[in-house]
């Protein structure tokens, strides 16, 4: 609907009448304006007008978990269609219809029949509308992926650096092992076993931390934007991808460091 309907709370409550119509308001409006179920308000089409439609608040509704509404601060009121048409002088008009069908094939068939027969408007599958209105979130998603890539590069560099350092610290032990006759392959396997264990442990810890952080993120942004929308969702796919990636990075870093160490002659490792 194009025009906002304004709600004015009235100080004197008229006697209860069966003819009084009811509206539902969103929880944000209820909280900010101090309105409750049973309160009487006057709806007008434009601010400044004194006469309007006296209604009773019959329900307070939770906002939808709709990403497109997250950043919008306007209030929402729900009322009967005819009532709103009367208030704003819209006549016998609507902005759109939402059509429920019994399954996919029925939806396609209904779409074709509406577009073929209807005069002056066009029907779209809901999915198409969702894609169109999701362009903002597609951008946010790409941004997150980019940040993720940078973080992965940073983590990989850090990991490789640390592995090289830790392995370097033990070069005398490795030198002694090699001088005793223990093969390069065994040395590499030992180091890689260690790095695999650390990578696995790190992955498990990271997944746990991810769950904790996502719970915190959801709690925080739900409070900031006053919405039930979940901002961070951890799926099986996300967990699998993260664990696999950290394992690959950790083991890879260990392998590189181990190869470097195993290739160095033992006496050089002793500093001779």
């Amino acid at each position: 609907m194009p025009s906002p309907a304004w709600a004015q709370r009235i100080d004197s409550i008229p006697p209860w009448s069966a003819a009084v119509r009811t509206i539902a308001i969103d929880e944000r409006l209820a909280a900010d304006a101090g309105l409750h179920v049973g309160d009487m308000v006057v709806l007008v089409a434009e601010p400044g007008r004194t006469s309007g439609d006296t209604v009773r608040i019959s329900a307070i509704v939770q906002r939808r978990a709709d990403p497109s509404e997250v950043a919008r601060s306007e209030y929402r009121i729900r009322m009967h269609l005819g009532q709103l048409q009367d208030i704003i002088g819209y006549g016998d008009r609507v902005d759109r219809y939402a059509i429920a069908t019994a399954g996919g094939a029925a939806a396609d068939s209904a779409l074709r029949r509406v577009n073929a027969g209807a005069f002056g408007f066009h029907a779209y599958p809901s999915r198409e509308i969702a894609v169109e209105t999701s362009k903002t979130f597609a951008v946010v998603s790409r941004f997150h992926r980019a940040i993720g890539m940078i973080t992965i590069v940073a983590s990989a560099t850090f990991l490789l650096c640390i592995m090289l350092l830790k392995v370097d610290e033990r070069r005398r032990d490795v030198a002694a092992m090699r001088l005793m006759g223990i093969s390069r392959a065994t040395v590499i396997r030992t180091v890689m076993l260690e790095s695999s264990f650390v990578a696995l442990l790190g992955s498990v810890f990271g997944v746990g931390l991810g769950f904790v952080v996502s719970a915190f993120v959801n709690a925080h942004y739900q409070a900031v934007y006053r919405t039930p929308l979940r901002f961070a969702i951890i799926t099986t796919g996300t967990v699998t991808y993260s664990v696999l990636l950290s394992l690959v990075l950790g083991i890879g870093a260990g392998a590189l460091a181990a190869r470097r160490l195993a290739r160095t002659p033992p006496l050089t490792l002793f500093g001779r």
Binding site: P2, S3, P4, W6, E46, P47, G48, A71, R72, E74, F119, G120, F121, K135, T136, A138, V139, R142, F143, A146, I147, I150, T151, V153, A154, T157, F158, L160, C161, I162, L164, L165, K166, D168, E169, R172, Y221, V224
Partner: protein
Amino acid sequence: MRFQLAALSLRRHASRTLLAVLGVAVSAAMLLDMVMLATGMRQSFASLLGRNGFTIRVSPRGTLPFDTEATIGQARDAAVAIERIAGVTAVAPVLGTTIHVLGAANPVTAFALGVDPAVQGDYQLLQGQHPTANTLVASDALLHATGASVGDTLDVAVGFDPQLRTYTGRRRVVVSGRARFTYLSADDRAAALQLASVQAMGGADRTDRVSLFMVRTAPNVDPEAARVAIERALPRVTALSTAGAVAEAEHRLSYFRQLAFILGAVSLIVGFLLVTTIVTVSVNERIGEIAIMRAIGVSRAHVVHQIVIEGIGLSLAGAASGLILGVFTAKWLNSILRGFPGLPDAIDFFLFEPNSAFRALALLVASGIAAGIYPAWRAASLPISGTLREEAVG
């Protein structure tokens, strides 16, 4: 000699040093990008809104400019009331609507602004003349879509009723100029006509109505005072100063600012940890050398000095590399975020502000200094004889 020793120590394990510098560089780049993100949105948006000197936007009560299709009625009276307020030097009315360019197989739809060309702040004329009663200026995207150019005549209409397939207003207009629309993206099809033309074509629904007033105040006037005065004079409107608009935008985009803060803090911590680790391991490897230096009479402070210089070297090299890397990654990230639908061309999310950038990098270098102090002091304080004995046995 301390600098020489520090440089040689870093060169001794070149690949390790290089990796550490790379790690610090990535941390520095991320830190820089997050600082740019935190400052960029605010500055970019404020700069856009403050362009042409308009410090206040007036929209229908409870709405933000062009947030809804609501309009302000009795616009002429409203403009007069605003002009009377002390400090107001100009009032630019704007009426937004959808315009249809007819004639081709499929009409081309565009966003149209009805403006007063004498005081408008919505577009910058690139070629031609400002719109008159039967002319318009168009964006390059609209001209491209219609295949028109300056001087051509277009058949335009507004107020399309899809059921009756009629328009409330239709007229033939000449393209008098090309323009860049300040608050729209380059891809947007847009046109500007005289306010009266748009109001007339819009029929009863648009008569004496505007979507928004842009208000210019005198340089020595506090826009906030003028804003309050406007809302007092016109209870049916909401007046938003540039600062207020920036704050509102920041609230809506607070996620990015918070993300910037968190990632920036994490980058700083990671950079600090990396330098600490490198210095600690490097010091542990040279415990014997450090003990010898102490034995031959090098003071503890000078030993710490030398090791801290190594930490500074790593941090400085990393910060310098990170500055270059950060500028490139910021360009890339900015190009992603500029894909937001309807984002004005003039908005950048990542803005390089030298003071903030160098302060952030200085913080990283300072953390590098701090990172080196503890391991260095610890190593320089070990008992000399015991350390020498252990190193001999080891």
